[in-house]
Assembly symmetry: C2
Homo-oligomer: 351 residues x 2
């Protein structure tokens, strides 16, 4: 990897399109002046946006394509019309070809995962990729995976998720041995889904070197930050993530309602405004925007479809963290130490 | 059913024990002076609590038992030592024998469900019971089921849940045709779990008379109140419920932190205190405490294990609502209209 971090951006992804992506890249460049950007998308839309930002423009290259993956299409449809030529495909392909260190897209999650899997292929020993999300907690942040890549998981897949999630936590949170919990409906060993219990038995008995297995955790333990890594399959994980987002938004609505009540309340809130601003920031999902695709031969970051420029910059930032600390090398080494990889698949990765 | 609502209470259930249960019953009696209470539990603990409340005492009967189900026991263990004689069993048994119109317990959920199923049996045509929760939303309240009774569900079971949930919403929310959504990870028809897609097909095509099928909903649609009834199997439902509770608590912590910041913030919050009190009330889980067990020959209400007296009173209140409007009769009739019951199983229930 060169000193400069090279970032491929799907400029057509997300609900707010090229303007949001370019503005997000500008914010990210200000924070990491060594970055280089590769934009893929409609040049008629992108050129004027870059012209207006000379310093960003000088750090960027623009590759035109007419084809953009639609948010509502099925992965199979998107692959049919978007393979080889859509902005999403080309963004991933830049990572495949070694022209970029990571790909970032705010587009259709299912299509992004399907194209990433098709183009980059999964790591040796991993059949099914996962999406890891950064989850704000009262203690800081945790990693929750899988938040929607793969529905259902047997015990072995859950153990893979634990190993990959822990490797990510080691890098992002600078921890030696992150704590890992399996999401379940009850914390007793005898409770919940059979495959979750079996994964718990494996993690308890095998005492893997790179993680500290805590046991089962429940939905309300995520926000407490009880463990650094919460492991679950993609259906339950996605529902947990979206439910938490919905609840935060709902309480935000309540708060707005309370603030616009009596005159006394309005004066009080006016005085407390700086404190509220801080609160809003903590509740703001763009602070922790970005899902990391795990289990692939390359770094792909999914930004939230509804993210603004600030959120998109946070997703790029997340990519900086994992690229700088060489996530793939560390995941491969951790999988090997967990006995999940044949030695010959390792190359020089195990350290 | 007599005019008076007769309520059997497991006085030993919940984290806070008899004192909380008796105080909750007193609050409930004040709101529904026609209530009669049957307390099951340790009379050495209960008698003094009732002596101190003469009007509650005169509306109550106390049945002594030494045996209480522990919060941490497996359902099978609880059944072994608690069948026939624990406070939980006797509470359910009072409903079975027709001595009470409903049972309320804050005890071990798994044990309560196992004993309820064993003693009351399921409704004809229903194999597996469910727990329905009242979920506060920005529009009011919705019903979410199953929040933890039964792990996994095939398409038919999900349709049963839709029918039973809609019958409950008709009663509790006074609606003719509640809207029903299936919880999934994406709203497009082709997304998510196969059994959820199949249930969606059945609900779309069969156009059941007692509900208005909306389609799929995602985790963040629950808090928006997008539908009156959200249907999912017990694993995902429990994780959604607990995650929402955890997120609300987490934001409460943030809020507390923000309020105790600068002097200016503290003065502001002091002025806005009445508005905050209202907000706290809306965020308070005891406002909507209580899960209704559905699919059984009898009404059993689960109160949150950590509920205070106010929360326990809310669970009793919920029972009042469903008993008064004869939930079981309406569910049986709705199942019949949905073609889920043989006509001969109906008796006079279908109207």
């Amino acid at each position: 990897m060169s000193d400069k971090v090279r970032i491929a951006l799907d400029a057509m992804g997300g609900d707010h399109g090229p303007a949001m992506v370019v503005a997000g890249a500008e914010l990210a460049l200000a924070r990491h002046p060594g970055s280089e950007f590769l934009f893929f998308g409609n040049s008629a839309l992108l050129s004027p946006l870059l012209e207006a930002r000379p310093s960003l423009k000088s750090a960027s290259r623009l590759v035109h394509t007419d084809i953009a993956v639609k948010m509502e299409d099925k992965p199979s449809q998107a692959l049919r019309y978007g393979r080889w030529k859509s902005s999403m495909w080309l963004t991933i392909d830049a990572v495949k070809k070694g022209e970029a260190d990571m790909a970032v897209s705010g587009g259709n999650t299912g299509a992004l995962m399907a194209m990433s899997k098709f183009n980059l292929k999964t790591l040796p020993g991993i059949d099914r990729p996962a999406i890891a999300a950064l989850w704000p907690t009262v203690r800081g942040e945790s990693i929750v995976l899988d938040v929607g890549a793969t529905i259902g998981a047997d015990a072995d897949h859950l153990v893979d998720l634990a190993v990959m999630g822990a490797a990510t936590a080691r890098i992002l949170f600078h921890l030696d041995k992150p704590t890992v919990g399996l999401l379940n409906i009850g914390v007793e060993e005898a409770k919940g889904l059979e495959q979750v219990r079996e994964a718990g038995r494996i993690l308890r008995e095998e005492k893997l070197p790179d993680l500290d297995y805590h046991g089962f955790v429940e939905g309300d333990d995520i926000g407490k930050g009880k463990v650094d890594v919460v492991v679950t399959e993609g259906f339950a994980g996605n529902i947990a993530l979206k439910t938490a987002e919905g609840t935060a938004r709902q309480i935000g609505e309540y708060l707005k309602g309370a603030m616009s009540g009596s005159l006394r309340a309005r004066i009080g809130f006016l005085l407390a405004r700086p404190a509220f601003r801080k609160l809003r920031e903590r509740m703001n999902p763009s602070r922790a925007n970005g899902g990391v695709f795990l289990g692939l031969n390359g770094i792909v970051i999914k930004s939230h479809g509804g993210a603004d420029a600030e959120g998109f910059a946070a997703a790029i930032e997340l990519g900086h963290g994992v690229v700088r600390d060489e996530l793939l090398t560390k995941i491969t080494a951790a999988l090997a130490r967990a006995g999940k990889l044949p030695r010959q698949a390792l190359g020089g990765a195990a350290s």
